[in-house]
């Protein structure tokens, strides 16, 4: 393990949440997003000797991630595929708006606490993959369509809360 490897890891770890967020915005299925995330990390590690340590790491690894997202959609058997040009345009816009996205990430924790308990439990179970929507529907007696709508309404409420919180947190 060389000092350069040390330095590379030191730079990489703080990038992970941003990297994951970038990938998961374009690859919504959680398992697939984790696969793309893992592939990106492996490729970055393999290419670390080509990385100029004087530069910031994140733009470099985000470029690798973008290529991995392209590769994912090329091979994907999913019904909905984002066009390559759309992926590029969304990636550019994501980085332009990223300073705000960081503020949104911070706000999410506070907004989750403000959800009614039953909504928080639902969204946590959904995102932790504790139950599939179908299992949840069976247990709760609701239709899957109704549950999807509920999840979407909760996300909309979180989005509004985050928007309000970000507007209030004005940096010096």
């Amino acid at each position: 393990m060389t000092p350069n490897d040390d330095h590379f890891i030191e730079q990489l770890v703080p990038c992970l949440s941003r990297l994951h967020r970038f990938i998961a915005t374009l690859v919504p299925n959680r398992a697939d997003a984790e696969d793309v995330f893992q592939t990106t990390c492996l490729k970055a590690w393999g290419a670390r000797f080509s990385f100029d340590a004087q530069r910031e790491l994140f733009p470099w690894i985000a470029g690798i991630a973008r290529n991995c997202v392209h590769e994912y959609y090329r091979r994907s058997r999913h019904a909905v595929v984002l066009d390559p040009e759309i992926i590029n345009q969304l990636a550019e816009r994501h980085f332009t708006e990223e300073a705000v996205s960081d503020a949104r990430e911070r706000a999410l924790g506070d907004c989750l606490k403000m959800l009614p308990r039953c909504q928080r439990v639902l969204v946590e179970n959904y995102y932790r993959d504790r139950f599939t929507i179908q299992e949840y529907a069976r247990r709760s007696g609701q239709s899957t369509g109704a549950l999807y709508k509920t999840i979407q309404r909760i996300r909309a409420a979180l989005r509004d809360c985050i928007n309000r919180t970000v507007t209030e947190r004005i940096p010096i």
Binding site: M1, H20, S101, I172
Partner: protein
């Protein structure tokens, strides 16, 4: 489809529904094609997509497997990965390390087989990060000893506002080699060797090692505990200060100058002049202070010892009272009307009764601060001056001890008003200028460094009863001036001493607009920030921001597009006595 508000609303709702389906995997294929269609070359739709999909992505992270990974626990995860590898068919050597199969091709095949055996979602969290750790084992036959888990800890905080709101530092949190950027407030960092460092915002401080830090900008005070070993070092761009068992303060100024003040004990200061002579060394003792210039000559000179300029103790959180939050507001004003000054003239005396107050705006901080933290702001103009005045609610009025002679770049911190404005009609509104750090060099605009973008900081320096003005220009804050000649300003406490009035007359010459000052009908950019400090007049406590562009996200003085409008009013009225 036509671009009417109704149709735009329809598309907005249609897109919302599709993005939700995209996130949940329930979007039919034909809707997927429609989604691509709407997003293509459509910035508004793309922003909407990102705002929605990013909440979904954030939730995946919040409740996912990777959230708690950091450079400290990656070693724990390495061990877990090693165990997973062993379970997948690797073997342990006598030293306990995992030995992979021989040969690169075998290792790659083994890795794929091992990855392929993982079924549990959580295990992928180990895999992806620990792909790094696995290669560490493969490429380091002799292995290496794990680094310390942390080399410092955040042990105190007072009104801390981090430059990045997303920063999640909490008291008790372990810190490693990382950069701490504090916008305001005070934090205490305790290093593992026993050194305690107080950082006062705005400050940019980097933890380099267990006994070393780098002060990029701002002020820090270091104190070694009695049990600590001597040799704690704080470096700046110009100097290195070695603690020999002491308490000292360091300031890294905006112009790269370094200042050291020794409160107790001794330090050795080393700096390197530009002519490449050997480093100069000087031992400083308690009561001594040294300043090293920020230019290439790196000249050092003794300066007056002023310990009050540094915070040496974390303020008592109990002094904040029952309210644990800072006074802040939600901006409501996007426009200020700058009225023509009365033709009869005004007297700059802190009494606004001779002002034309038709353009006044009123703003208050959120409850429970609304009653005592507010501003009633006004602006006027004539051919020679810009007038800025207000009545400000402040429980601790006019107590600032921020000395304009030594700390003008922190003039805002002890209670102040900051007004930023454009005097360039050609730039119009909204502005597009940004601080150089906010865009690539290749995309810099000439207006980023325009002399007609002006930043004014107004405050009352209580020890000398001086009404101060600090001016900087451009989004790069060049050409700074402190108390230049030509302006008139007065701060005056109001009756009951729960606030103050101020009024300033600033000549257009200082705003680089003497040849073509703003005139009636002009719509230019401006923004206001009112700062409050605590009873000491030293520690920033909160702020109010007004005159914001409602169409820009957030507010930052580094981004002029977030500034609101200044409308130079047409009508003239006489002031009623």
């Amino acid at each position: 489809m036509s671009n009417t508000p109704h149709n735009r609303k329809q598309i907005h709702e249609e897109l919302q529904s599709m993005v939700d389906g995209f996130c949940d995997g329930s979007l039919p294929p034909e809707q997927g094609r429609r989604l691509n269609e709407i997003l293509h070359n459509n910035p508004d739709a793309q922003s909407q997509f990102l705002a929605c999909a990013s909440v979904h992505a954030q939730l995946n992270w919040e409740f996912g497997s990777f959230k708690d990974v950091n450079s400290a626990n990656i070693h724990t995860l390495l061990h877990a990965a090693a165990n997973s590898l062993e379970a997948a068919g690797g073997c342990r050597t006598d030293s306990g390390k995992i030995k992979p199969p021989e040969g690169r091709a075998h290792r790659q095949l083994w890795a794929r087989r091992w990855l392929g055996t993982l079924r549990q979602r959580w295990a992928w969290a180990v895999v992806s990060l620990l792909a790094l750790g696995l290669v560490l084992f493969w490429t380091t036959p002799s292995g290496r000893s794990p680094r310390p888990v942390s080399i410092a800890r955040l042990t105190g905080s007072f009104h801390a506002q981090w430059a990045d709101p997303a920063t999640g530092f909490e008291i008790g949190q372990s810190l490693n080699r990382e950069r701490l950027r504090l916008a305001a407030g005070v934090v205490e960092v305790t290093f593992s060797i026993g050194a305690v460092v107080l950082l006062e915002g705005p400050v940019d401080f980097e933890i380099r090692d267990a006994n070393r830090g780098f002060l990029h900008r701002g002020q820090a005070v270091a104190r070694l505990s009695q049990n600590a070993s001597a040799g704690f070092v704080i470096e700046t761009a110009q100097a290195k200060v070695v603690d020999l068992g002491t308490e000292f303060g360091v300031k890294a100024g905006r112009s790269n100058e370094t200042e050291i003040q020794v409160f107790t004990g001794k330090v050795v200061t080393e700096w390197k002049p530009a002519d490449h002579r050997a480093s100069d060394l000087r031992r400083l003792e308690a009561g001594q202070a040294l300043r090293i210039s920020g230019d290439t000559s790196a000249v050092a000179q003794e300066v007056p010892y002023q310990p009050e300029r540094f915070i040496r103790q974390l303020p008592d959180p109990a002094s904040r009272g029952a309210n644990a939050t800072n006074p802040i507001n939600e901006s409501r004003h996007s426009v200020v009307r700058i009225m023509p000054a009365p033709t009869s003239g005004i007297t700059v005396d802190g009494d606004l009764s001779d002002w034309n107050l038709e353009g006044r705006f009123i703003a208050r901080c959120h409850e429970p601060y609304g009653r005592n933290y507010f501003v009633e702001g006004s602006m006027m103009y004539d051919a020679k001056f810009l007038y800025i005045g207000a009545h400000v609610g402040d429980p601790f009025p006019l107590r600032s001890i921020v000395d304009p002679k030594t700390d003008a770049d922190y003039g805002w911190r002890g209670g102040s008003i900051q007004v930023r404005l454009s005097t360039d009609r050609k730039l119009g509104w909204p502005l597009h200028a940004k601080h150089p750090d906010y865009r690539p060099v290749s995309e810099a605009l000439p207006e980023d460094t325009s002399d007609k973008l002006v930043h004014l900081t107004l405050w009352h320096f209580e020890p000398k009863e001086m009404d101060c003005l600090e001016i900087a220009y451009g989004m790069d804050f060049h050409g700074g001036q402190v108390n230049p000649s030509g302006y008139r300003g007065v701060f005056k406490k109001t009756e009951g001493a729960m606030g103050y009035n101020f009024e300033y007359a600033i000549p257009w010459t200082l705003l680089n607009a003497a040849d073509d000052p703003p005139r009636a009908g002009d719509v230019l950019a401006t923004t206001w920030i009112v700062h409050w400090a605590d009873v000491s007049g030293r520690i920033w406590q909160g702020k109010l921001v007004e005159i914001r562009n409602p169409n820009a996200e957030g507010h930052s003085f580094y981004r002029a597009d977030t500034w609101g409008q200044a409308i130079y009013a047409l009508e003239r009225t006489t002031v009623r006595p």
